[in-house]
Amino acid sequence: MIAVEKITKTYGSSVVVDGVSITLPKGGVTSIIGPNGAGKSTLLSMVGRFLSADSGTITVGGLDVTKTPSDELAKRLAVLRQDNHLAVRLTVRDLVSFGRYPHSKGRYTVEDERHVNEAIAMLGLSGLADRFLDELSGGQRQRAFVAMVICQDTEYVLLDEPLNNLDIKHAVEIMRLVQQAARRLNKTMVVVLHDINMASTFSDVIVAMKNGQIVASGSPAEIIQPDLLSQIYETEIKVVPVGSRLVAIY
């Protein structure tokens, strides 16, 4: 379970995350949607202990993220951030191997090797494993970073816009992967998405943010509503049922 209680973050005079409280149950896929600047990444950064909140508490699986030793937390929680600049030159395999660091502390075992190979294969990077990251396309690089997070093999996984730069095939593959991790391995997956239809299709819960607050949360059927979405995105959005799914049209 991830419990966020009255979390506030301000930069100067602008309140970026405004007293947010929310509880995400263990197991399942939660999508966070909302316009640019809504505070999604900021909230995720505080859950991932990259950023300290001005007030409020956050616990992940019962561990307070500000008080738990960072290396303990790294075995339970993996985070993909929106911006992944690297100062060093690494191959895909090198990068993905770092995902094992919290468990092996640099002494890689056969077990770690297996995790690395699995993650590389899962993200369709087998043919690219020995390429340097700067020799990849934007989408391939994005998949390499997702592979690193998957390789960390934690109960809780936060992904900030994992579908950035991805084509439809790979976007759907990653969302399936996220869904399977939640279904089969009972992992708690939290994903920030801009594609409402991906959120509609693959999530158990959708959380909608705007202006640093949570404006709505619930099942896809509750959130994928024309009025609500139009108000959140300040754009006219229609919703059409297709089969068992709700599809937003804009």
């Binding site: 990259f50 030793p69 790294a74 951030r81 690297l86 660091y101 020995d130 340097f132």
Partner: protein
């Protein structure tokens, strides 16, 4: 590049550098020797040991500094670390007097100086580097300003110093590669050995820190604490090299960037030894060629600084700061 190809290349580089190192060392010990062998061996042996310690200290401190700063242009000496060491020495001579300073236990003195350097690097990081690290150009500017400040302060104090005291100070500070202060050899050796053991244990941590603050945090490394601790190690190494041969500005930059250039990996387990070997070959080999072959005396530091300075300009122009 395939892992197997990369591994072979690393092995070839290490083998080649090791051979060059051995050749340089043997040449250093034997070339142009006249008179009693036992005297020559012990005299040159001490000098050789000092050069190796200096090479190690400069190479390792530079690579580690660049890792924690995520920047391949700044080095501890460009940030004014060794200028500060000289300032500390000057202040000590000024406050205590050169005579009493020379009478002090050199080990104690070294510890005091290294300790003060650690304190400085810690404060510098807290106040400035943590914020400036985001802008490499600001970082360089801060370093250059600090360097000028420390050097001007030193030369101001030196000017108002008693001439005889100044001579003693000059002896301590303007040691060059062929006038190594071997009296500190024992301490330097012990300190370097301890630092080496610590660094060996931390190699995987450095690899993670090189990924940057956010990735390191995500992987469970306490970034701030690791950086503070690494800065302390770097300060000790700078103290060792400055105590032995005096300040050297661009040598670290030169060997670190050569290592990055020829290596197909950025793992510290490989980069640190290779940068050290390059430093040893350059220092010892350069000394042999200049001193024994061409019979120049103080030229090595000038040549190294000149080439290192060129590399620095090249890196700045090429924009490797980002």
């Amino acid at each position: 590049m395939l892992p197997e190809v990369r591994r072979k290349r690393v092995r070839a580089i290490v083998a080649l550098l090791s051979v060059l190192t051995v050749i340089a060392m043997v040449a250093f010990m034997t070339l142009g020797a006249k008179g009693s062998w036992s005297f020559i061996l012990s005299f040159r042996g001490a000098k050789l040991a000092a050069l190796v310690l200096v090479a190690f200290s400069i190479a390792v401190s530079t690579v580690l500094f660049q890792t924690i700063m995520e920047n391949r242009i700044v080095t501890p000496s460009i940030m004014g670390f060794d200028a500060l060491y000289v300032l500390l020495q000057t202040v000590l001579v000024f406050a205590i007097g050169a005579g009493r300073l020379s009478a002090m236990d050199p080990f104690l003195l070294f510890l005091i100086e290294a300790g003060m350097l650690m304190l400085f690097s810690n404060l510098l990081y807290r106040w400035i580097l943590a914020g400036a690290a985001r802008s490499p150009h600001l970082l360089m500017l801060v370093g250059i300003v600090f360097g000028i400040l420390f050097r001007s302060l030193s030369s101001f104090l030196q000017r108002i110093l008693d001439p005889s005291e100044f001579l003693i100070l000059q002896d301590r500070m303007f040691a060059s590669f062929n006038a190594v202060d071997t009296s500190l050899l024992g301490i330097a050796g012990v300190v370097v050995a301890i630092v080496t053991v610590i660094i060996l244990r931390m190699l995987p941590v450095f690899d993670v820190v090189a990924l940057g603050r956010n990735h390191a945090t995500a992987l469970g490394v306490d970034h701030n604490r690791t950086i503070m601790f690494t800065l302390a190690l770097i300060s000790v190494l700078i103290a060792v090299s400055t105590a032995l041969v005096g300040p050297v500005t661009f040598f670290g930059l030169l060997v670190a960037n050569l290592a990055y250039l020829i290596l197909p990996t950025s793992r510290h387990a490989v980069v640190l030894p290779v940068a050290t070997l390059i430093a040893v070959v350059t220092l010892v080999g350069g000394q042999v060629i200049l001193e024994r072959v061409f019979a120049f005396d103080t030229a090595l530091s000038i040549i190294i600084e000149f080439v290192g300075g060129l590399v620095f300009i090249l890196l700045v122009v090429r924009g490797a700061a980002r």
